[in-house]
């Protein structure tokens, strides 16, 4: 999955030490895409919503978004900003 653009997210989480980014993707988020990300951390997938929500979380970062959206949010703890590199690599391999 190609990442078209990355922007700093407006979500004000910096005071908790996290930096959030919005990753814009070439295709809408699919169920398969979510499942491919699963090895990155613990998965919460809420399907019974107006638009299903997913979150993948580990100690250093968090990925969340909605099924069918064209972007996902990636929040990385300030001390582990370099973790973005493998996240990007994994997404772009999908």
């Amino acid at each position: 999955m190609k990442i078209i653009n990355i922007t700093r997210s407006p979500e004000p989480c910096t005071e908790a030490g996290w930096m959030a980014f919005q990753y814009y993707l070439e295709r809408p988020v699919s169920r398969e895409f979510i499942m491919e990300l699963r090895p990155l951390g613990s998965l919460v997938f809420l399907e019974m919503l107006a638009q299903p929500f997913f979150k993948i979380e580990n100690e250093h970062y968090m990925i969340k978004g909605l099924l069918g959206d064209g972007s996902i949010r990636v929040a990385v703890h300030g001390e582990h900003l370099d973790e973005q590199i493998p996240i990007k690599q994994i997404i772009e391999r999908l």
Partner: protein
Amino acid sequence: MVYLNNAATSWPKPPSVIEAVTVALTREPVSALRSNKSASDDLMTELRQKLGRLFHISDCERIFFCSSATDAFNRIVDGLKLHSYDYSIDSHNSVLRPLANKTPYFGNATLGSVLGRAKRQSRAAHYDALFLNHCSNVTGEICNIGLEWQNYQIVHRQSGNRQLLILDVAQSAGCIPIDVDGWGVDILVFTGHKGLYGPMGTGGYYVRRGIDLRPSQFGGTGRDSSIIEYGDGDEWEYEIGTQNLPGLAGLMAGVDYVLERGVENIRTKELQLTQWLINELRGIDKVQLYVAPTADVQGPVASFNIQGLNPSDVGYILQNSYGITVRTGLHCSPLIHHRLGTEKFGTVRASLSDFTTQQDLQALVQAVSDICASLMNNE
């Protein structure tokens, strides 16, 4: 779209507010006391009178305008010679941060269940102050001002200093009746862009005549321009620089709206809706509520969490999956979260205005029900 973030800033604004700002920006500019036209002076005088009616301040000439409640509290903390102070645990950072960063003794504060307390010894200081928050922006709980003030005066009766009651009505102005003269409030701080429906960047404070509040900022006021250094006998001036007249014109239209609607009527409507929301949320499994203990002290704010999800995730889902705007986190009021046990992630907060409808709240309840049902389905 459903907007339930009125404790941050109210939206929508009454159409009259938008019109007033537009008119103020469209007509030939006038600046307070700086031209031969009296329109700006009339506006500020009239707005003081209307705020005096709303807050029950007979000496409304002592209401001064500034950019926000935060601006006002910085001026107050800078300008008062404080010997000691207590403050509400549910205070906003607009109070806590000026106290913490401008007085050297905040770090020694002791936290009780309702109040924090900081003391120092200074020969120059001559005020003991109680900074009370009228309505929590987290739980919506309304403070019993008379009781807190009475208790404070009993504890400090031996101090020998003059005691000041400083009341923050940023969350309650326009939503809950306020009686400055009746309650014996010495200093009142308000913001214009919440329950008063004015534009952002408007606010102000009332200072009882005779209180020695040295201005922290000096500059042009349009009065007595020959004075450069203020001396004994010169009256302090608090509104310095060109005033935000378009903003104040909008604020006056907002205050007009509240006065015409009647703050009691707004209170009744918002309380009814808030109680309905609380009762509905209380009936949903996995929802933990953080609200006032009884309805009579409940303001138009309710916080909650959903077990198994961070508040930020709930807010993300509500915003992006349902188009419902709430606020999540600590809401700039960090200390009360230690009492609630929510200091790590905060809460989800829904806050109402006079424009909130039952349908808005039904949409929120449905969305929260969906989230909880989906979580239970995953278990």
